[in-house]
Amino acid sequence: MTAVDRSRLPAIGPDGAFRFPAIARHRLANGLDVRTVEHRALPVVTLVLLVRDGLGSDPAGREGLAAITADMLDEGTGAASAIDISDRMARIGADYDIDIRDDATVLTLTTLSRFADRGAGLLADLVLRPSLREEDLVRVRTQRINRLAQLKDSPAARGEQAFLGVVYGDHPYGHLAIGRASSLRELTISDVTAFHAAAFQPGRATLVVAGDGTHAELLAVAERAFGAWRAGTALPGIAPEARPAPPSPSTRLGLVHRDQAAQSVLTIGQLAPPRSTPDYAPLIMLNAALGGQFVSRVNLKLREEKGYTYGARTGFDWRRGAGTFTLEASVETRVTRDAVVDALAELEAVRGDRPVSGAELDLARASLTRGYSRNFETAGQVARSVSQLALYDLPDTYFEQFVSTMDAVTEADVARVARQYLDPALMTTVVVGDRAAVAAGLGTLGFGVPTELGLED
């Protein structure tokens, strides 16, 4: 055996072949879009039901309605109580989760494949036949108001809430899914019933079934459980992409006071294009180089060079309507101002005198494409990926084309989108930290005195 050559790193070999999951599309008589994927590694099945209303569909003054409606689904069906529902989940070893996104409510249930029908039936009961009882709403509403009070303790949640409020203003994306205490107090059971009727309709939903079965078997599971879903009559609201654009941010520098905070939580960012932008590929390449991974510029600067933070990252938060770009880091209090200066300098440089280099682009491209097959290891990953295609109107060939799409992105494309979409002069910086320790320093950044962002009640 030859000794290892330690004078250089070993060369990288070619990638192994991978066949992306084949998606079969079906439409039930009631209009439900069903997509099945055979994933036969283990006796497991994952169902994802996506409806196209999320927190962005909350009416003004009713913030939190989508989330509380989602929460009410497993509070009982027919005569069954919340405890009974949970017991039925437990008896099939189900992992159940409901996620309120900006443009969608997503229910995910994973179970053993021998329980596929019971799992699908349970999911259908939640969606088709929730009891939506007044006394449950009263209890759930109180829990949510209390949880909101607890969020005041969390610097990360306060940073997110304040940032969304500043950049979106009164646009429907401008609040957390949980809503506000003032709006939650106003919510009634008829709000919930009406929202449920409008949002949960077979013609506006997609069901993905991925797991250990043939397409025909997986479709039959969907049909047996959801075939009886009747189309509703309520009209859907305004499509997210048709809403008016958010107003200009109300401030460039906001401070949320947290007494004697050991760190300052920084959120720096601005509005970004919707998921449907033709510039999606160069934007995610830009992000990977700038702050999307450990070796990105902002983490190398703020963590590995300066030691200011445990980690700094950037990201695009995609939506059907206007999204956001943010840089986030939790930094030691005494370096708050310096960290903001360094962060803004990186954001300025990438659109100015230090655009993403060819080498950085190669790294970003490799990290996005060469590990891509890992996203399809489990039935749950596959089902969630397919539901994303549905949410954003992407073709079934999206996965196969992903690598070549990324390969086609050039240095010039990335430089262009950096200039076009990132502009530190237009960004808002929100700091959650100790006023006495950080306000004076922040005031010298050139954005004036920081605007105190009080707590939303």
Binding site: M1, I12, S330
Partner: protein, 437 residues
């Protein structure tokens, strides 16, 4: 039907490195996972946090790759991470098949040739990063310092589980580069490590590559196991002030060592008590009486001994004493009567499902490669998966009842209440004030 198994092949290299291989060709990636049998329990009081800080240094470069470890691996499309707990430190990559040799080259270089790359500047930067990790995860997080207070309260001051893995901030500041040498020679060598390759790779190729990259590294002495006697807990109440809106109440007991008799039963018991809406405490505290906003429980199983913990956030307008009383009654009932047959049957299905779900991924924290190393390092038997499952499947009403009765005794329970600043009176009567930082 039979539960799928977690299959493997094992060989031990001449230098003592244990190598495990699991083939799963579905995705063209290979998981590389290394466990070093060293954690914060190998530290001393006054020198805490060292094992974890050392983990950070392992990513900063090695003799033949004298720069950061993330870049080449991310460039190759790999994922990279590591973690430290009281008992062990793990490092892993998940890489496309074409980058497997790169990952093995790098892991072997830092196993055998780390120190020449360690400069005072890199050391100082990682000290600062770790202090920020501590601020982010504990000091600036609501209820974050409860962990520190509980850890100290559960064990006497010199006990190896009496400090948090992240370490005391003073100790992290006081660490010196010179201490790294001795720590590295003692714990970071083939005879104190277990390497698993799992994924799109055949056995022969995997063992050949392991031998090629790790076979010439020098063996070291296997460290003596850490031993510590753990005196019984004496019941007491503690109170800690924090910047929080609502009081949170913690109740804890010592439990047996990982895989010891009673360990599986107490996992089941904590589930029956407080996990999910069907659990007894959720039903009483949150759903029916609304004394708490949330309740949860878990058992931390570790090599020398574990602990069980129940945590509930007290609802506005309700008292800690009410919540405390319900928890005590509920635990006492489980200790007297055991679970119902229906509860046990439900647990059995959940356990089976969770074991099968665990087989879905090869790499990363909790993936198949991590599990094989866990079983190998902690039981000596990498094929322990089915035995582990059987521990839960063989639990009975009587065995769960007896484990709760033996370990979750009221006279051996400590409580900690985290209260909003200035509200020490919200805690239980007679609670002793503690300070954590």
């Amino acid at each position: 039907m039979t539960t799928p198994d977690l299959t493997y092949t094992k060989r031990t290299l001449a230098n003592g490195l244990q190598v495990l291989v699991h083939t799963d060709p579905r995705v063209p990636q290979v998981a590389v996972n290394i466990w070093y049998h060293v954690g914060s329990k190998n530290e001393q009081r006054g020198r805490t946090g060292f094992a974890h800080l050392f983990e950070h240094l392992m990513f900063e470069g090695s003799a033949h790759h004298n720069q950061g470890y993330f870049a080449p691996l991310q460039q190759a499309g790999g994922q990279v991470n590591g973690s430290t707990n009281a008992d062990r430190t793990n490092y892993w990559e998940v890489v496309p098949t074409g980058a497997l040799e790169l990952a093995l080259w790098m892991e072997s270089d830092r196993m055998g040739h780390l120190l020449p790359a360690l400069t005072p500047e890199r050391f100082a930067t990682q000290q600062a990063v770790v202090l920020n990790e501590r601020r982010q995860n504990y000091e600036n997080r609501p209820y974050g310092l409860a962990t520190a207070a509980l850890t100290e309260a559960l064990y006497p001051r010199e006990h190896p589980y009496s400090w948090m893995t992240i370490g005391d901030a003073e100790d992290i500041r006081a660490m010196e580069l010179a201490e790294v040498q001795a720590f590295y020679s003692r714990f970071y060598h083939p005879a104190n490590a277990s390497l698993t390759l799992a994924g799109a790779i055949g056995e022969d190729e995997a063992f050949e590559l392991a031998e090629r990259y790790f076979g010439d590294l020098a063996a070291g002495p296997v460290p003596e196991p850490v031993r510590a006697s753990t005196p019984d807990l004496q019941a007491k109440h503690l109170v800690l002030e924090d910047r929080v809106e609502l009081p949170r109440h913690y109740m804890a007991w010592h439990t047996p060592a990982m895989f010891a008799p009673g360990d599986a039963e107490l996992d089941l018991a904590t589930d029956i008590l407080a996990n999910g809406k069907t659990s007894r405490l959720y039903r009483t505290l949150v759903f029916e009486r609304r004394l708490a906003l949330d309740v949860g429980a878990h058992q931390a199983s570790r090599e020398i001994g574990g602990y069980a913990l129940i945590v509930a956030t007290v609802a506005p307008g309700r008292s800690v004493a009410e919540v405390d009383a319900v928890i005590r009654e509920t635990v006492a009932d489980l200790a007297a009567q055991g679970p119902s047959a229906a509860e046990l049957e439900r647990s059995a299905v959940q356990v089976e499902a969770q074991f099968i779900y665990r087989l879905q991924t090869c790499g990363g924290f909790g993936g198949k490669s991590d599990q094989l190393n866990a079983y190998n390092v902690l039981t000596g038997d990498p094929g322990y998966f089915r035995t582990d499952l059987a521990r839960y499947q063989h639990a009975t009403v009587a065995s769960v009842r007896d484990a709760v009765a033996a370990h979750c005794r009221p006279d051996r329970a400590i409580t900690l209440t985290v209260v909003p600043k200035g509200q020490l009176g919200a805690a239980l009567p007679g609670a002793e004030r503690v300070v954590a930082s």
